[in-house]
């Protein structure tokens, strides 16, 4: 360790003298030594912009500044903005404009903007994007951030704020996210921001091999290093049941050990975890662990795994056919078809790319209970897994979800915090784990890569008559058949097809496990099926819009699983909504391509794609929630909901406030805490509003009924005369405040706390051989139009505009939903063009290629579709699936521009040039 020096710095206007090693990063010193945790660590490799601070008023990345390099200089952090009470104008603008989702990248972006505005109070939009592009945001798609910056700059120049008129009611109105203010000020405590006295740091040793037998692990030397508190390996855990259970059966599911036992199946798999006094000692300890591996041949990629002589990861083989869907007569269907198109498609892994790396802090409390705080989307399963692993009762383990700095399906049950908790239990002191970016990319779950064969038949008039699809889903190193059901169900697209045969298989390969990711199973299908439709339309010389409209599902349609659709079938409405945009885009493209010099290497193209997907979390298990009227007349809502930054807690509060006639700020939400809200729920699959919303609404109905009868008695009127508004029970001008009503209830012994439940009532598990059943009561549906410019000599693709029309029913909060859709579109764009995860090799965000603001297209968001009778307020989830059609729409647009068809993603320059040569 380097010697400490006295270092003088000015931080947020205060002169400080501190003792620190001059080689430590400014970021680490700000966070660990000074408690200024508003400055976040996203990559520690100057690639994400999250750790931006102001150094002498100029933006600088604190991760790559040794503190010795900034001696005597002035540093400003997010905590220094808006000092003296009140929000800084930029902070205010970010809150109001819905520019804050998970909030992890927000402080860095606000400081970057502040640095710009100090020199140029009225910057052009080019100037703004030029400053913003090194800042990665995975949630917002950047659009609302740009809006907030422009608005914030106006406020900062002293221009008056735009005051929106106050409305009656909350549902349907744009509201800022409830947690936005904490996030713009840096006050929100993410998991990595938690510190405790005597806290140890966990580090994880990972397998350098993709496939190997572990002959021996020797930690003895490492254990002797001073400052090492303890180890967890597969060996000292052998006595207990290991693993993380796959969610759905039938189909083979392999327990994934939280730490390798006798074999590693992917590069990066945890082999040993250590807790030590400091990060450095923990790293030294890992370097001293001796692991004896017997390296085995490995299999990477579906194609390799399908070969008959491929090395086996499991004795049963690498491939398991898990879901077949059959409807009609496939042979007859193709016999009747006038056109048949058959192609293979491949979609790669996708990294979630949340800017917050996995983190958690665990300790054993004075009652002997294990307490874990972590950025998990699924605290309830963490609790179960930990109880199982340690042989504890569920109530002896408490898991609380911290604000999640981007989840997108990637922060379920992670090795990171499970191992930290196991270590804390082992060494009996607080243990904190924070993944490095490399670890996060290497070991976290990915979107399933898919190899797909689609054979599609249509009659001369454009009617789809037959679909045969073979789907091979790369599940990674451990079997979990869940995804095969989503893809199999989605395979037909949102279209009527009378004769269908879909076969979906899970394929194990020696890479990190695949898992949930926005649009699970839908995005791969859309990429294949929407290009198939395009090819059929071409052969029939039909308009791509017409063929989709002609075949679109309608109320009364029957899906390939035999599901009779009645409500929430808005695909044709979304097609109609985009039509004017589509036609205008085609006109512009014709004009552009015509007017460009013949020498021009740029070609304009327009692509259309639809998408659909079943909502997540199918089962008949109910989702539960409680509501309680508190003595002060405010409302407490407890549920399993975790705030991922998508605004679902805000939407839930809006619904509750309207139903009970209280102010939004009088709704207190408690969620994602296994002790205080013991209602197992996975925050995923864009179902929060429908399921938790449903449970809360049911509970509120009971509460309202009870309050109605008590207040009717008190006011001496009939119950039908009672309404709830402004925090009162009202009757003909008379009012009874809710706090008084709560007191009355207690006097007469009427309970104030009620539980509600919601479930997918129609769910019938799919038959594994025929696929008949009801996978989900409802499906999300939408249509997108993408406009692109393609450079035919460099292979560069620019997406100019994406128009998205979604079948939403009632929109609970338009500004937050728009933000979700923007974010999803840009994630889809990244998947299509720049993002690529090469197993075992991709280690940094730059190599991976997350889209930046420079890749962001103009986005037009349209809400259409009728209210859904069976859901709370008639709302349908619609944020997540905006990712589903985007890659397909872009691929269709590239083909429209150049005739080059991309059957493999991502469309990086090399691949676009190759496709151009083929065409």
């Amino acid at each position: 360790m380097e010697k400490k020096s006295r270092i003088r710095l000015t931080i947020n206007g205060k002169e400080l003298e501190l003792e620190a090693e001059p080689n430590r990063s400014l970021l680490e010193v700000l966070r660990d030594d000074l408690g200024l945790t508003g400055t976040k660590q996203g990559c520690d490799r100057e690639e994400c912009g999250t750790c931006t601070v102001l150094l002498e008023g100029v933006s600088a990345l604190s991760c790559n500044l040794a503190v010795g390099m900034v001696v005597g200089r002035k540093v400003e952090t997010i905590e220094g903005l808006g000092q003296g009470g009140g929000l800084h104008p930029l902070q205010k603008a970010f809150v109001e404009k819905g520019a804050v989702q998970c909030g992890f990248c927000t402080p860095g972006i606000i400081l970057e903007t502040e640095a710009l505005l100090r020199r140029d109070p009225a910057p052009t939009s080019e100037k703004i994007t030029e400053r913003l592009f090194p800042h990665l945001c995975r949630c917002t798609g950047y659009a609302k951030i740009l809006e907030a910056i422009e608005y914030g700059a106006r406020l900062r120049r002293g221009e008056p704020a735009v005051v929106t008129a106050s409305h009656q009611g909350y549902v349907g109105r744009p509201r800022s996210a409830l947690d936005a203010e904490d996030k713009v000020t840096g006050r929100a405590k993410f998991a990595a921001d938690l510190y405790m006295p005597d806290m140890a740091y966990a580090k994880i040793l990972r397998s350098p091999h993709a496939h190997a037998i572990i002959r021996n692990i020797d930690t003895s030397e490492a254990e002797r290093i001073p400052g090492v508190r303890g180890f967890v390996t597969g060996r000292n855990l052998r006595a207990v049941r290991l693993g993380v259970k796959p969610l759905l059966r039938p189909g083979r599911g392999t327990f994934q050990p939280v730490i390798a036992i006798d074999r590693v199946r992917y590069k990066g798999e945890p082999v040993a975890a250590v807790a030590a006094d400091t990060r450095e000692i923990a790293e030294q300890a890992l370097a001293a662990v001796k692991v004896d591996y017997e390296v085995l041949e490995s299999v990477i990629g579906v194609e390799a795994a399908l070969k008959p002589d491929a090395p086996r990861i499991f004795p049963e083989g690498n491939v398991e056919q898990t879901q077949t869907i059959t409807r009609g007569d496939i042979a007859k269907g193709f016999a009747e078809a006038d056109v048949v198109v058959e192609n293979w498609y491949y979609t790669p892994f996708q990294e979630h790319g949340y800017i917050e790396p996995e983190a958690g802090l665990a300790y054993v409390d004075t009652d002997g209970r294990l307490f874990l705080q972590a950025c998990t989307q699924f605290p309830y399963q963490c609790q179960q897994s930990l109880a199982q692993l340690l042989g504890l009762k569920a109530e002896e383990v408490r898991v609380v979800a911290t604000p999640v700095g981007g989840g997108f399906g990637g922060k379920y049950v992670e090795h990171a915090w499970i191992l930290a908790a196991l270590l804390a239990y082992e060494v009996r002191s607080p243990v904190k784990v924070v993944y490095t970016r490399e670890e996060s990319i290497l070991s976290s779950t990915k979107r399933h890569a898919a190899l797909m064969r689609f054979k599609t038949g249509a009659s001369r008039n454009g009617r789809l008559v037959a679909l045969e699809a073979e789907l091979f889903m790369d599940v990674g190193a451990y079997f979990d058949p869940l995804v095969t059901r989503y893809t199999a169900v989605a395979a037909q697209g949102p279209y009527e097809i009378p004769n269908v045969l879909v076969k979906a298989a899970q394929v194990a390969t020696n890479v990190q496990k695949s898992g949930a990711f926005r649009g699970l199973g839908g995005i791969q299908i859309a990429f294949a099926q929407e290009q198939q439709l395009e090819l059929i339309a071409q052969q029939l010389q039909m308009d791509p819009w017409e063929i989709r409209y002609l075949n679109a599902l309608r109320p009364g349609s029957v899906t390939a699983t035999g599901h009779h659709l009645e409500e929430g079938v808005g695909i044709s409405a979304t097609l109609k909504a985009v039509r004017p945009y589509y036609e205008q885009a085609l006109q512009v493209a014709r004009a552009e391509n015509g007017s460009r010099e013949t020498a021009s290497t740029w070609k304009r193209g327009v692509g259309l794609a639809c998408g659909w997907r079943a909502y997540g979390g199918q089962s008949t298990d109910p989702t539960e929630a409680t509501v309680e009227l508190l003595p002060d007349g405010t409302l407490e809502v407890r549920s399993g909901l975790v705030e991922l930054g998508v605004g679902s807690t805000t939407a839930l509060a809006q619904m509750a406030a309207d139903l009970m006639g209280v102010r939004l700020e009088d709704v207190h939400l408690i969620g994602g805490d296994t002790a205080r809200a013991p209602f197992p729920y996975t925050t995923s699959g864009e179902k929060a509003v429908m399921m938790i919303g449903g449970a809360v609404c049911r509970a509120l109905e009971e509460l309202r009924a009870a309050l109605t009868s008590v207040s009717a008695q008190a006011l001496g009127c009939r119950p039908e005369e009672i309404t709830f508004k402004g925090g009162n029970a009202l009757q003909a001008g008379r009012k009874l405040p809710l706090d008084r009503l709560a007191a009355l209830c207690r006097e007469v012994g009427v309970p104030l706390k009620y539980q509600g439940a919601a479930r997918w009532s129609g769910y019938r598990p799919l038959d594994p051989d025929t696929g008949q059943g009801v996978f989900c009561d409802l499906y999300a549906m939408r249509t997108q139009v993408a406009e692109v410019d393609v450079n035919t000599t460099t292979g560069e693709v620019k997406v100019l505009r994406v128009v998205d029309a979604s079948d939403t029913g009632t929109v609970v909060n338009p500004i937050l939903l728009e933000g979700q859709i923007h974010g999803s579109i840009v994630q889809g764009l990244g998947y299509a063009l720049t993002e690529e995860f090469v197993p075992g090799q991709t280690a940094t965000l730059r190599e991976y290629g997350l889209p930046t603001v420079l890749e962001m297209p103009e986005m037009v968001v349209l809400f259409v579709g009728d209210k859904v009778p069976s859901t709370p307020f008639g709302a349908k989830g619609a944020g997540e699936t905006a990712i589903v059609p985007t890659p397909a729409a872009i691929a269709n647009a590239i083909a429209h521009a150049t005739r080059a068809r991309l059957r493999r993603l991502p469309a990086k320059p090399d691949r676009v040039l190759a496709a151009l040569r083929e065409s």
Binding site: M1, P22, L61, M69, R131, Q841, T852
Partner: protein, 333 residues
């Protein structure tokens, strides 16, 4: 991060003496953008050791200066910020190719920290080299993983072998096209050499991309005044529009009279282990009237010797396209 001792240097000579004193264990620290990154990842091997001592160049007065004297040209201190090069009015007017190249470097924050010297001395972006777990040839191992592996983006199509890195600098191609000289300072003596001969390929030196001795630092780059009628252009292609290294880049500086190229220098970036001077292409351009056909011919000549690897043949076309466009742009009157 590898721990280190940070020592402030007061003059270039003192910096060189310090490097000499801690021979083999010390390295100069400029903006730190690349060096600290490498130290965090512990990119080391038998032939590449992480330093124990960093000699801070920031404490040297005036090493960040940018000066211009009419007729004599431009002098860039090693610690001149890339963002200052980009914004400097004289450079924008008289050496536009250099301002263009500076604007293509990384991101605005990194240009605020990054220096001219650091940009020239940065290590390659081959992802096998940058993977701490792989003992690649360049780190002293026995295998170049790029040969059999994924060599689509940051690997050579020219002058590759036995290691197939490409030089990532944006400033170097532009500065070489401008016929710059670089001054190097050692503990006892200084030397000034053409920037072009500062760089070496991996056949000449597998472990280092330039001729700096362990106790030398870059002090200054001097750029001669371009001749009357001289024009330049820099173009770069990358995966994302934002901060990424060049898949290929092209720097063209030429003197034109009456639409005819009198003299020129052409340098490609991102295609070879060093900034690649395309002399055959220069010959093909000299004395010619600039038009589409000539530009195409120049591009063909430049890539004539290309030997792409298993997955990067497209970079040949890409480099040709860039060069053709750069020639036409520079030739536009």
């Amino acid at each position: 991060m590898k721990s280190f001792q940070l020592i402030d240097a007061r003059s270039p000579q003192e910096a060189a003496s310090l490097l000499n004193k801690y021979k083999g264990k010390a390295q100069p620290l400029a903006g730190g953008g690349d060096l600290l990154y490498l130290m965090k990842d512990r990119i080391e091997g038998r032939q590449i050791q992480m330093p124990d001592v960093l000699v801070n160049l920031e404490s040297i007065p005036k090493l960040d200066s940018i000066s211009y004297e009419k007729g004599k040209g431009l002098k860039l201190g090693a610690m001149a910020l890339v963002s200052d090069v980009e914004a400097n009015k004289t450079i924008r007017e008289r050496f536009p190719i250099l301002a263009q190249a500076a604007a293509e470097v990384a991101s605005p924050q990194l240009r605020n920290m990054g220096t001219v010297g650091g940009n020239l001395c940065q290590k390659p972006r081959c992802w096998y080299y940058r993977n701490a777990h792989l003992p690649c040839l360049k780190k002293g191992g026995s295998t170049c993983y790029a040969l059999e592996g994924d060599n689509r983006y940051y690997h050579a199509i020219l002058e590759g072998g036995p290691c197939y890195i490409v030089h990532p600098s944006d400033l170097a191609p532009a500065l070489i096209a401008l016929n710059s000289q670089v001054a190097l300072v050692g503990p006892k003596q200084s030397r000034t050499i053409p920037l072009e001969s500062f760089f070496v390929n991996t056949k000449q030196n597998l472990y280092q991309e330039n001729v700096l001795k362990p106790d030398e630092i870059v002090q200054e780059v001097s750029v001669p005044e371009p001749k009357e009628g001289s024009r330049g252009f820099y173009l770069k292609s990358r995966i994302r529009k934002s901060w990424d290294f060049a898949l290929a880049s092209a720097a063209v500086q030429m003197e034109i009279a009456g639409g005819v190229c009198r003299d020129c220098r052409i340098v490609l970036g991102g295609v070879a282990p060093l900034p690649y001077r395309a002399k055959d292409a220069e010959t093909a351009l000299k004395g010619k009237k600039i038009n589409e056909q000539v530009a195409l011919k120049v591009a063909e000549e430049a890539l004539k010797a290309a030997q792409p690897m298993s997955m990067n043949a497209y970079k040949v076309d890409l480099a040709k396209t860039l060069l053709k466009r750069a020639v036409l742009q520079a030739g536009k009157v």
